[in-house]
């Protein structure tokens, strides 16, 4: 490393750590940097991040990483053991398992990503509204949340997906429908503590409208814990998705999906155990990475827990 770049790094570092930030942008960057420093101190969380990035990369580069097409059937080559030609063997229709697992990362990340995008805002809106308004709005919204919460989440997703008809998109909707309540509850709890803060009182006295207070002042304050919660629940989303696929209610054939692959492999368990082992490991890896990352985030935001 040259002296020059070292200097620039040092100045970047001091820019990020200066006590009185000069601009909003700098303040944001600072808090990100500080957060990153704290996250980096947790080796498990770093592993989580790295694995997630790795899986994202695999999903993105699937066509280049996969050795075969995930769809091409060669009946004559079915159920082959792992070899140089087929790294993880072939499935019951002679498709390359390694390539299907690589493409399966796309399916899983697609589900997890979309669910996060749907669930975060919905949970946040409902929770913040209920918490801020209180009264009967809160009573009604929280009763609904409770009802959804007392329902086993896999069963709820299962019921929704069978009502909507089995397909990948419906699985996403079903999982989203069954995972917003936890986030709503959290957002409401956060809102309750923010609602009575001096800062919100001040905004209210200045005549801000209720929607404005909720959207501009309450929600941003809830955001960090909601993000943590969403990240953590991504792990269980990946599991639920696999469970639905396992029960034949997720992605439909021939889409490569780990849960569905596991379900077909179950038939060949005794002769070809690796067919079931690999998709299961893939599910475990993704789910664990989300858990490690989310856990690190939680520690970072709330060092006491």
């Amino acid at each position: 490393m040259t002296a020059h770049s070292f200097e620039r790094n040092a100045s970047l570092r001091s820019w990020l750590l200066v006590e009185a930030p000069q601009s909003g942008f700098q303040a944001w960057m600072q808090s990100f940097y500080l957060a990153w420093l704290r996250l980096a101190a947790n080796p498990l969380a770093v592993i989580g991040v790295v694995v997630l990035l790795g899986i994202g990369l695999v999903a993105l580069m699937a066509p280049w990483i996969a050795t075969h097409s995930p769809f091409d059937q060669v009946l004559a080559d079915r159920l082959q053991r792992p070899s140089a030609a087929h790294w993880l063997g072939t499935d019951e229709l002679g498709r390359d398992v390694f390539s299907r697992i690589v493409y399966g990362a796309r399916t899983t990340l697609y589900i997890v990503g979309l669910v996060a995008v749907i669930v975060g805002p919905i949970g946040l809106c409902i929770g913040a509204t209920a918490g801020y308004l209180g009264g009967w709005v809160e009573a009604v919204l929280m009763r609904i949340t409770d009802i959804f919460l007392s329902f086993p989440s896999l069963i709820l997703a299962l019921a929704f997906v069978s009502a909507l008809g089995p397909s990948l998109d419906n699985a996403i909707i079903a999982i989203a429908l069954s995972s917003w309540p936890g986030i709503a509850r959290l957002a409401r709890a956060e809102t309750l503590t923010i609602r009575s803060s001096d800062y919100v009182d001040a905004v209210r006295v200045m005549g801000a409208s209720t929607p404005r207070i909720i959207f501009k002042h309450v929600m941003p304050m809830c955001l960090p814990s909601v993000v943590v919660r969403v990240t953590l629940s991504m792990a269980s989303v990946a599991l639920t998705a696999a469970g639905l696929g396992f029960l034949g209610l997720g992605a439909q054939p021939p889409t490569p999906e780990w849960g569905a692959m596991l379900s077909t492999a179950r038939q060949y368990l005794l002769e070809h155990w690796y067919l079931a082992a690999m998709p299961g490991l893939a599910i475990l890896t993704v789910s664990l990475a989300f858990n490690l990352f989310g856990d690190g985030l939680r520690d970072m935001l709330n060092p006491r827990s």
Binding site: A159, A163, A189, S233, R266, S287
Partner: protein, 353 residues
């Protein structure tokens, strides 16, 4: 699975809201409303499901006249709200109706399946807390040390592993390859009905009858599913233990005690641990309730004739009497657990007292 991660915030938010549960009447009303809502939701989901209980009853070969006849017999020709009211009326008089797929009254079926699940969950929770508590304490005492990270990793893997997959792999390795454990089901075939049914818990019944062959067979069958379930509850229990213990260990009395020369072991187990016992009991109760649900896929993989398998099968053929009765039970368990936690916390936490 996911239930375990979902449970923690449920408890936390509850305790910040004492005014909700404060008047007992309102509390009771809200429980009743939640249950009613839960039943209504289940009922209407059940009715929009494409699973057709009539098709399950009559199969492929019945003609249209038989099909209509069965529809009338099952009361499915009535408008939805009437079906729901009829269902509520039956339920209030303690009549869950008949399950289509077993041909038995649902109440009878439940008497068979619930003990099976209770037995599995009990062994699982013994394993889960037997491992989880020491691990959690160790993680707290050695915070930031390798053992802390190891416990955390172990528990996060417990949260992350697809339990049905672990079950399949466990069967392959320990049953098919090594032959260490029994296969699926509760007991070897020859021992079915070998001991008189007293509690419905096979381990207890066989011990009471002094039939150790049956006991051994039952133990060989229960150990693998119970270990798997126990592992997932261990994941939760060890995390909660760790955080409770950290709380205690940062208290002043701990420092004082250490300064006064008490051994670390005395302080950890004699003082700090004693103070978290009630909280731990709650956590164990919660994960015990969670096992009811967590057992769904495990029971399927191990062909365990319990509650989870019963519920899944009922749902898959749209057998609403059975599904609704099961939902009611799951809902009741969760609501009761929530109430217990609320009460305990109000009792324990000086800020809410």
């Amino acid at each position: 699975m996911s239930s375990l991660t979902d449970l923690a915030p449920r408890r936390n938010t509850r305790l910040r809201l004492p005014r909700w549960a404060a008047p007992a009447l309102r509390g009771g009303l809200s429980v009743a409303l939640t249950l009613l809502g839960l039943l209504a939701l289940t009922f209407f989901i059940g009715r929009v499901l494409p699973f057709d209980p009539i098709a399950a009853v009559v199969g492929e070969k019945a003609d249209a006249s038989v099909y209509e006849n069965v529809r009338t017999k099952l009361g499915l020709d009535q408008p939805l709200y009437i079906q729901f009211v009829m269902f509520l009326r039956d339920m209030l008089s303690g009549n869950f109706g008949r399950a289509i797929f077993t041909g038995n009254p649902v109440a009878d079926d439940l008497r068979h399946v619930i003990p099976a699940t209770v037995e599995l969950a009990t062994v699982a929770i013994v394993i889960g807390s037997g491992l989880g508590i020491p691990f959690g304490v160790a993680a707290a005492v050695y915070r930031g040390k390798p053992i802390d990270h190891a416990v955390r990793l172990l528990s996060l893997i417990g949260h992350s592993v697809p339990i049905f997959w672990l079950g399949l792999m466990g069967l392959i390795v320990f049953y098919a390859w090594l032959g260490w454990v029994g296969g699926s089901g509760r007991v070897d075939i020859f021992y079915l009905d070998a001991v008189p049914k007293r509690t419905g818990l096979l381990l207890v019944d066989s011990a009471l009858a002094g039939d150790w062959d049956v006991f051994v067979s039952a133990a060989r069958h229960i150990i693998l599913p119970a270990l798997l379930l126990g592992y997932s509850s261990m994941a939760y229990i060890s995390r909660m233990t760790r955080s409770f213990m950290l709380d205690q260990l940062s208290q002043e009395y701990v420092t004082t005690a250490r300064v006064k020369g008490l051994s670390r072991r005395r302080v950890v187990w004699g003082h700090a641990f004693r103070n978290v016992l009630v909280q731990l009991a709650t956590v164990i109760a919660i994960s015990y309730g969670g096992l009811l649900e967590g057992a769904v896929l495990t029971e399927t993989v191990f062909a365990w004739p319990g509650f989870g398998q019963y519920l899944t099968t009922a749902l898959m053929i749209g057998d609403m009497n059975a599904v609704l009765a099961c939902t009611l039970i799951v809902g009741l368990v969760f609501i009761c657990l929530n109430l217990i936690t609320d009460l305990l916390y109000r009792f324990l936490d000086p800020r809410t007292r």
